[in-house]
């Protein structure tokens, strides 16, 4: 199933939740909608599901108009952040719900329904919980049941709204891997919403980065990380250092200090320089584009994170390898291995 969204606009009062969104999702894709809260990602998902309606724009599934149908006719599996399980029903009945409410003409007989529910519970590896009630399950189990319930109707599209948002970090990591392998197994066109960049980059085939109701960039996880299209994407994905610089006559300056960085045809004026924390090469004082004094060092994992006060007023955090210990008070030079400059203040 392919999904096509054209020029979608949705306003809540004067607030534009979606401000002209175009998106094409290919068959069998696992797509992540990534953005901060208020970026419109959940609204987009709910409109695709038929739980919300746009003010203008088009949504089509396989070329046919989806907005002409309600949520019920769209055959879309939806997984909610807070599971939305029916708490008066057992796990088994929750999963069976979509099969039991089918019109009589197409409803399967009890034995078929039971077999199908059992298969789904096996698929989410929770067949042993069939007789429990949702309140007796852990968060991770509930979300897997919610997923099994959504899959029961053999959805054409699977939509997940912050599916792991309410779970603790460890469970979230497990479920991410599990979701990816599950998608590999069932291969349904899927879209999931998240504000967690790590989750988006790790699980999805393609990532859509959104901000303020607009799409900032669409690309593979590698693309959005390695070559961010806009300043927003660079700042949002990965840990970046952001410095206000000034470009004039092909020279980049931080304050009054020329940085000696190449500017590829960038217009003059106030600009922003982005460097990944780990892309700052530490050298002796006097070398490199920047110079500064180490304020504070914390060691964790494979890197040491140092707070450096640059000569020029800004204080930045860098991640340096641990082979050369930094100490508070050291004067160092810094050279960005890779950087991007975006016009605008």
């Amino acid at each position: 199933m392919t999904i096509e969204v054209r020029n979608l606009v949705k306003k809540f009062g004067s607030f534009a939740a979606l401000d002209g969104v175009d998106l094409k999702v290919d068959n069998g894709e696992l797509l992540a909608l990534l953005g901060p809260s208020g970026s419109g990602k959940t609204t987009l998902l709910r409109i695709i599901a038929g739980l919300d309606w746009p003010d203008s724009g088009e949504v089509s599934f396989n070329g046919e108009d989806a907005l002409a149908q309600g949520a019920r006719e769209r055959h879309v599996g939806f997984v909610f952040q807070h599971y939305a399980l029916f708490r008066h029903m057992t796990v088994f009945e929750n999963v069976a719900f979509g099969l039991r409410v089918q019109p009589r003409a197409v409803r399967r007989d009890e034995a078929t329904i039971r077999a199908r529910v059992k298969d789904l519970l096996d698929l989410v590896q929770l067949d042993w919980l069939a007789d429990r009630y949702p309140s007796q399950l852990s968060g991770g189990q509930r979300q897997r049941i919610a997923l099994a319930r959504a899959l029961a109707i053999e959805p054409r599209i699977l939509l997940l709204d912050e599916p792991f948002g309410a779970l603790d970090a460890k469970v979230r990591k497990e479920l991410r891997k599990w979701l990816r392998s599950l998608h590999h197994e069932i291969n349904v066109t899927s879209i999931f919403v998240t504000h967690d960049q790590e989750e988006a980059l790790e699980v999805a085939n393609r990532v859509v980065v959104m901000d303020k109701g607009r799409i900032e960039q669409i690309g593979s996880p590698n693309e959005v990380y390695e070559s961010p299209a806009t300043a927003f994407v660079h700042g949002f994905i990965g840990e970046s250092i952001e410095l206000p610089v000034h470009v004039a006559d092909g020279v980049v300056r931080l304050g009054s200090r020329p940085l000696g960085l190449a500017v590829d045809g960038l217009a003059s004026g106030a600009s922003r320089l982005f460097v990944r924390r780990h892309d700052m090469q530490v050298g002796p004082a006097g070398s490199g584009a920047f110079e500064g004094a180490v304020q504070h060092v914390r060691n964790f994992g494979p890197v040491q994170r140092a707070e450096v006060a640059l000569f020029g007023g800004e204080t930045i955090e860098i991640d340096a390898p641990r082979d050369k210990e930094l100490r508070a008070g050291d004067r160092i030079g810094l050279e960005p291995r890779r950087y991007r400059i975006f016009a605008g203040g």
């Binding site: 769209r74 807070h82 008066h88 009630y133």
Partner: protein, 278 residues
């Protein structure tokens, strides 16, 4: 619980509050009721049986319990619809209507009785058109039914309201996206979730209607065997100094009420156990 655990209770004041609870409930409820039972032992079983099986008593009990149950059922249905509108929709005057629901709680029942009677009397605003259709409300059992509906409605609304407010609209969206029609969503998802609260509301409205006296006696007409409620019969027997009769009717009302409330309680517990707390 072991002695150590008891001493380490984190919430203090158990002894004091428990003691107060028990003595208060005893003074206010248990002792008067026990007195009633003791009084009833002064009459012999045959006498007791004769009082209860008399035609007038049986009819009064039938009117009281039968109409109270019917009124509670009507309140259950209408109350649920009112709750739904008040909780789920935003409309001008919503707060006003929400406040109006409480009026039967606060209004002196006699005032309600007089108001309903003049409204439904043959010349009243509602009584006249109904009379034209051949329906007599005031001074008939139908009038009792109307009064019982009036005083019972807030009990259903106020018990179900908080539970419906707590019910996550997402579960309706989930049901819809799974292919359930609106009707299926109501029957299979919403009503079962509300069942314990609905049963409680029903029980409270019923209990209130059984015990209602003030508003009913104005509108009922109080014809023996036809529109005479049991509480009124008790008052009549008392004014005739037939204390044994009054006591016997009171005891049987107490027993029936207790059994009903107990049964509904069990039913409610059963429904609640199917929905373990979140």
């Amino acid at each position: 619980m072991s002695a150590i655990a008891a001493r380490r209770r984190t919430l203090p004041g158990f002894g004091l509050t428990m003691g107060l609870t028990l003595s208060w409930l005893s003074i206010i409820i248990l002792i008067p009721l026990a007195g009633l039972f003791l009084k009833s032992f002064e009459i012999s079983p045959e006498q007791f049986w004769n009082i209860l099986s008399s035609r007038r008593t049986l009819n009064a009990l039938r009117v009281s319990f039968g109409l109270a149950f019917a009124a509670a059922c009507v309140n259950l249905v209408m109350g649920s619809i009112i709750v739904w509108a008040l909780v789920r929709y935003r409309f001008p005057g919503r707060r006003l209507f929400d406040a109006i629901v409480d009026v039967p709680f606060a209004l002196p029942t006699a005032v309600a009785g007089v108001a309903l009677t003049s409204l439904f009397a043959e010349k009243g605003w509602l009584g006249a058109p109904l009379a034209a259709l051949g329906i007599k409300v005031a001074f008939t059992p139908v009038g009792i039914f109307v009064a019982m509906i009036f005083i019972g409605i807030p009990f259903v609304v106020r018990t179900v309201q908080p539970v419906l407010q707590d019910l996550d609209p997402e579960i309706e969206e989930a049901a819809g996206s799974l292919g359930a029609s609106r009707w299926q969503t109501i029957i299979r998802v919403i009503l079962p979730s509300l069942a314990p609260a609905l049963l409680t509301g029903l029980a409270l409205a019923f209990a209130r209607a059984v015990g209602e006296y003030g508003s009913v006696i104005f509108i009922a007409g109080n014809l023996p065997n036809v529109s005479e409620i049991a509480p009124l019969l008790i008052v009549i027997r008392l004014s005739e100094f037939r204390y044994a009769d009054a006591t016997a009717i009171a005891v049987i009302m107490l027993v029936v009420s207790f059994v009903t409330i107990f049964a509904v309680n069990r039913l409610q517990r059963w429904a609640q156990n199917r929905i373990p707390a979140r």
